[in-house]
């Protein structure tokens, strides 16, 4: 069990703000941390890692990582941290990156096998692709045999296909080791696939906390389909109006009445939903 109660004044992009977080995390839980940029997600992760100071307390099992008396340095916390920019040691091969953390060769072999990197262990990081580097970074974090694995948007720099592959590997590692994990992510499908719990931060406070399905599904009432998108354009075609909406990576045309068209402004976030609809998935 991890008990977090922290306070910190932040000078974010949106001016001064108080980060105030009360959180209990169960052992083995996979928690996704979501929220707009500047809401304090990365800072929360860095405080948990001991890389930034804060007031309050962090208790992990029987250990006190932070209390009024002081703070345990990052060296002694036994955590794993995966950075968005990989942050590998460029002077060391893949294998050396892992063994630098912990000289356990068997564990390194096992991790490299799970992430299908065994035949690349003698290569230097800068000869690997982004996806491969992030896998090495993940293995390196696991080498520390962490009590808590922290990941700061680990997959956001990768293309969609590579994301899916890595999501599977993260899932596999989590099943294998059962490490309590906190991952910052903006991608709803990623959160849904990986996390057992979502915490949404807003201006430094927890705005929502629950299971991914409850929080991420946007349908209400009898709606069958509902998508959030950005309105790109409205044009008049004969007697009707056609709106172009960008949903995810796709553009969709939606017919709207002239009444509806009046209330819409280009650039705003809209929900596209439908009822009594029998879709076919081909």
């Amino acid at each position: 069990m991890i008990k977090i109660h922290i306070e910190k004044k932040l000078n974010g992009a949106n001016g001064e703000m108080d980060l105030l977080v009360d959180l209990e995390i169960h052992e083995g839980e996979f928690l996704a941390l979501s929220g707009k940029s500047g809401s304090g997600k990365t800072t929360l992760l860095r405080i948990l890692a001991g890389l930034e100071s804060a007031k309050g307390s962090i208790v992990v099992g029987n250990e006190k990582w932070l209390n009024a008396k002081g703070s345990l340095p990052p060296q002694k916390r036994k955590i794993g941290y995966v950075f968005q920019d990989y942050a590998l040691f460029p002077n060391m091969t893949v294998e050396e990156n892992l063994l630098f953390v912990n000289a356990d060769k068997a564990l390194a072999e096992q991790l490299l096998k799970i992430t299908e990197l065994s035949n690349m262990k003698k290569r230097l990081p800068n000869t690997l692709s982004g996806g491969q580097q992030q896998r090495v970074s993940l293995c390196r974090a696991m080498m520390n045999e962490p009590k808590l694995l922290l990941m700061d948007e680990p997959l956001s720099a990768l293309d969609p296909e590579m994301r899916t592959t890595l999501q599977n590997e993260i899932l596999r590692l989590h099943k294998e080791f059962g490490t309590t994990t906190i991952m910052v992510s903006h991608d709803p499908s990623e959160i849904y696939r990986l996390a057992s719990r979502v915490v949404v931060l807003e201006n430094g406070r927890i705005a929502n906390d629950g299971n991914p399905k409850e929080i991420l599904l946007k349908t209400q009432g009898s709606q069958k389909f509902s998508f959030e998108g950005e309105l790109l354009n409205i044009s008049k075609v004969d007697v009707i109006y056609v709106a172009i909406v960008s949903i995810g990576q796709q553009l969709v045309e939606v017919v709207v009445s002239s009444e509806e068209a009046k209330n819409l402004t280009i650039g705003q976030k809209v929900m596209v939903s439908t009822k009594a609809f029998a879709p076919m998935i081909v």
Binding site: P74, Q75, Y81, D85, Y86, P90, M143
Partner: protein, 232 residues
């Protein structure tokens, strides 16, 4: 011509290189923790420390030389203390030259190292701390190996700059043959007594050595950058 070459005295060169080598080693030991601290600190004292470190670049060598000479002489508390306690007199001695050179070349060691440390990916250093590694281990195993060009630049430029110093050396060391008469001072004296042949030879040797040293630094850095690319 051959006669002149045979009669040429190489002691000033040997003295110059001995001085430069000692200065480089001592400064490396001093500048490593200092530049590491400067690169990592968020203290308000940082600009003050940086300004003090950079002073020898802008101060006239005569000013620096004058202060050092005064500090090392028996007229200053420090000089008197050294004389009374250890029985050493640093002014107009080789040891005094080493002390003076360390002040004079300090920025040439600190600035490239600090720049190297600052260009490192902060997350990479943090990843090392999180892996349980101390700051010292991180410095030697992670930071330094990933900034070889900056490291080499610092060492070589400090060495070359010390070989090339003149004003401070003349003020603090004078020109005692075999003790404080380094190559640059020797050349100055040759010109003074209008021995232009020797001055030409000495100057050419200095020019060739300096150019070779600088060329090798730039070639190495060029190759390193190609090999590793710029680090993220």
């Amino acid at each position: 011509m051959i006669e002149t070459l045979k009669a040429l005295e190489f002691t000033p060169f040997i003295l110059s290189f001995k001085l430069a080598l000692l200065t480089t080693i001592i400064l490396f030991v001093i500048a490593l923790p200092l530049s590491w601290y400067l690169s990592q600190t968020r203290s308000k004292m940082k600009p003050v420390l940086e300004a003090i470190t950079a002073l020898p670049i802008v101060l006239p060598p005569s000013v620096l030389g004058f202060y050092i000479l005064w500090a090392l002489s028996q007229n200053s508390p420090l000089g008197a203390f050294l004389e009374e306690t250890f029985g050493v007199q640093l002014a107009f001695s080789f040891a005094g030259l080493v002390v003076a050179s360390c002040f004079y070349s300090l920025p040439f060691m600190v600035q490239p190292l600090q720049g190297g440390f600052e260009s490192l990916n902060r997350h990479m250093l943090e990843a090392s701390y999180i892996s349980g590694k101390s700051k010292v281990t991180t410095l030697f195993k992670v930071a330094l190996p990933n900034m070889k060009p900056a490291l080499l630049t610092a060492l070589i430029i400090t060495f070359a700059h010390t070989v090339g110093e003149f004003g401070v050396v003349l003020m603090v060391g004078g020109s005692i043959p075999g003790e404080t008469k380094v190559a640059s001072v020797a050349i100055y004296e040759m010109v003074e007594i209008m021995d232009y042949t020797s001055a030409h030879i000495y100057s050419l040797i200095m020019l060739i050595i300096s150019f070779t040293v600088l060329l090798s630094v730039y070639l190495f850095n060029h190759r390193q950058n190609r090999k590793f690319g710029s680090f993220v």
